[in-house]
Symmetry: D2
Subunit: 264 residues, 4 copies
């Protein structure tokens, strides 16, 4: 049984909480909300719309006693970069492993996570694109770009109309993967891959890559049709990080080294 | 300048002839049709609907004198397995390299090609799925299957209504790649991947793979919108095989070893 | 304020209940479950995972007293054809209007609903395909078939792997619309439109129509990405039927007569 | 047998010529190229890459003698708006019916065509979007907009990278149809429908309309996979206009009045 502490109870955090509670090998032992949140002091069940769980939501100023009392093996973090770095320091000191699903990290902030694992020998999985499928898609587009470097590439992403940032962080990451693949193929220099962002209706999240040649084309798309896709990525991350030590990203969870080796 | 002999002047063969004549580094030096074809004795230009080329179409009983006279570096073969094996023996003896785009080979027939390269030290590229894009797609679906082995897989292929065989050989090959990927992931045993074949209108050729999980899905599709896609694959094959020795498949043309190594 | 009674608390019924409670112009005044259901006697809020609503779920043997006490303007029915016909008799006698979202009706059962509206002068909306978008799609495919009667038609439907019936009732209805369109165009007799049913992962419901000619193709697809799509169709139906008298189908809700007239 | 004169021998004009020659009920009796074209004086067969046809390409300064000698029933015009208007005057005076596939007309230029038919009682079909499928798509999107006026609309068009104008005229026309549909539904005022134009590889032409609601979406796409799609629209137009009098557009060819009436 892996004991899990959840930090961040926004829309995705709530989905993660529900998903953790459905797993037989995981137990949600504590939950931390943002400072001044109205959720503090309530039973987690009340927030999720289910029976009482015995887990009372706490504020982020209580991290040390929470860890002492609830003894989590893994912390899952869906907050914001500043909060993640601040909290991760405390969790790392206390040898707790961490799954970071928070998005919007700078390179420096990422590096800070890396340094924590070196110093405290715990494990951190940095996974802002926590959905498994999206990471598979990124690998596929990188490889396709390397093999079809004279094709035209185009990314389209569609999200619900309440999403504020455009293009999505994931689309930007996909563009980078394509550019890496093109560079690896020996292409001297390349223009940026164009990204189109569509905001419409209630679409959870879709990313589409067009790879078009003179006479044929490949299309690769990924669509999450439920927010639970994020939660299941987090679950996979928790199981992966449990008992490990070091700094990891989703490529490690996907075990790409083995997968590509299998093919050869 | 690479000198090319084309064997087989069916629908794809004609496209290949046109494409070869557009390349500056390739010269079409001879063309061989099926026995008793009405094309024998005509100038190739007449068959392609373009000005005279000086290349007179000959029958397959003339292979040795044709090679002596036209001195091809590479033969491109779009005929049928029996003819390919028969002709390849003669070409191999005469140290000509061969690109085989013919489909429908048995394992034994493939093995015969392999043996020829061992015996005569020429090079044969066996590439029944000659379109580059389709081969990229096969790799991608294999890898996706390895990483997402608990997802459901489904193949749909759409071709023009005059195509007789269903499902297409390419769809069957994609299914095998998915099954290989699932097996490599450690999945004990798997049901066959379902394939749906649609015959409608004038669709040149489309293959689509659905990879569906509980909360998200990936779609990978390849569509040739011109028969020239086959021809360009053949061109790439000619350039690849020129000067080589040994038995090859499209994975070698795609240089997968390097591409996957680049990623790691 | 329109007062609504909900009959049937299955997966779709629960979505409908939630959606009704979010509308300012609708009030859910009573809820009826199947006989012997464990839900009977509980507060509806408990079933929906939300605070108490004051509406206690009752059994179907209580219809008359429920109507007397809760005085609904409209009943929404998501049960089964036998129950719908039985209950609709009682509701019609009491001059309550009815939205029927139940699927699987025979022609005779549909006719019985029609007769009730003639006898009791209430209104019934028969809408087994309650999602608005699906009904729009049906119209579009009918018209396309009438205009492109020499094209090939093909339907593909994808649903989650727990769906038992295949092809879906909606796909069958779409096929009929296409066949009607082809017939209206003057085509003498037509083979059935092929339907492919895919059961994979957690797909809520997608229907796709391919219309393929020699040189071009049209694709029309509809996908529900949330079960709430059914609920919103029901809401639209409630608002439509309120205050009316007579027998209606979704084409009336869509106001097709006006829409097509607008175009001409 | 309908006698046809073709004006304009650009990429689409050549496709139209080929398609006309394949029809049993049509005879191509004369062909007119742009002034100073190198094609003038050559046999049409030479230009099409097929055996001699006996039709010698002439210049546009010869219209009257050409009509006297070749006696066409219908002229097909794929030139430019200025040439079309100039030539149409002459053809109309001589009572020849005209199919105009030329794009880029101003409202005034269109009106001039209308006036010609009033004055000379011949018939003109103005059909800049000559492909049948595209016109069907336009109708469908108009109707969908009228019925789903609270959904978000988005157009994407993809063409080969040599296409200079963006967005395509067809995409702009589709946007107008959507806006008409929304207006007809009673929507007070609407923002422009966003259009994304993608230029990639050798795509002949694809238009896609996304119609996205909170919980479901409809996608309607049209793709020409061969330039022959334009030619077949022209053929349909020739057969339609033959023997008629008056000004027409593609909606008349599609017989929308009847098609929509069939549905009601």
């Amino acid at each position: 049984m892996t004991r899990v502490c959840l930090v961040g109870l926004g829309r995705t955090g709530i989905e993660v909480a529900k998903a953790i509670m459905e797993q037989k090998d995981l137990r949600l032992v504590s939950a931390i909300s943002s400072p001044n949140s109205r959720k503090i002091g309530k039973d987690l069940g009340e927030i999720l719309g289910c029976p009482a769980t015995g887990v009372i939501v706490q504020g982020p100023d209580q991290i040390e006693p929470i860890v002492f009392q609830s003894r989590p093996d893994v912390v899952v973090d869906f907050t914001n970069p500043a909060a993640t770095v601040r909290n991760s320091k405390l969790f790392s000191k206390m040898k707790v492993n961490i799954v970071v699903g928070t998005t919007g990290f700078s390179k420096i902030a990422m590096y800070k996570l890396y340094v924590l694992t070196k110093k405290y020998h715990n494990a951190i999985l940095y996974a802002p694109n926590i959905t498994l499928g999206v990471n598979v898609m990124m690998l596929l587009t990188n490889l396709a770009a390397n093999m079809l470097n004279n094709y035209d590439f185009q990314i389209t992403e569609i999200h619900h109309k309440h999403k504020k940032d455009a293009p999505s962080g994931t689309a930007v990451k996909i563009a980078k993967e394509i550019e890496k693949g093109l560079a690896a193929s020996g292409l001297p220099e390349t223009a940026d891959v164009p990204i189109q962002a569509i905001r419409a209706g209630g679409v959870v999240g879709k990313h589409e890559v067009l790879i078009v040649g003179e006479n044929d084309r490949i299309e690769i798309s990924h669509e999450s049709f439920s927010r639970k896709a994020f939660a299941l990525g987090a679950i996979k991350g928790i199981r992966f990080i449990q008992g490990k030590s070091g700094y990891f990203e989703m490529n490690d969870v996907l075990n790409l080294q083995k997968v590509l080796g299998d093919y050869l």
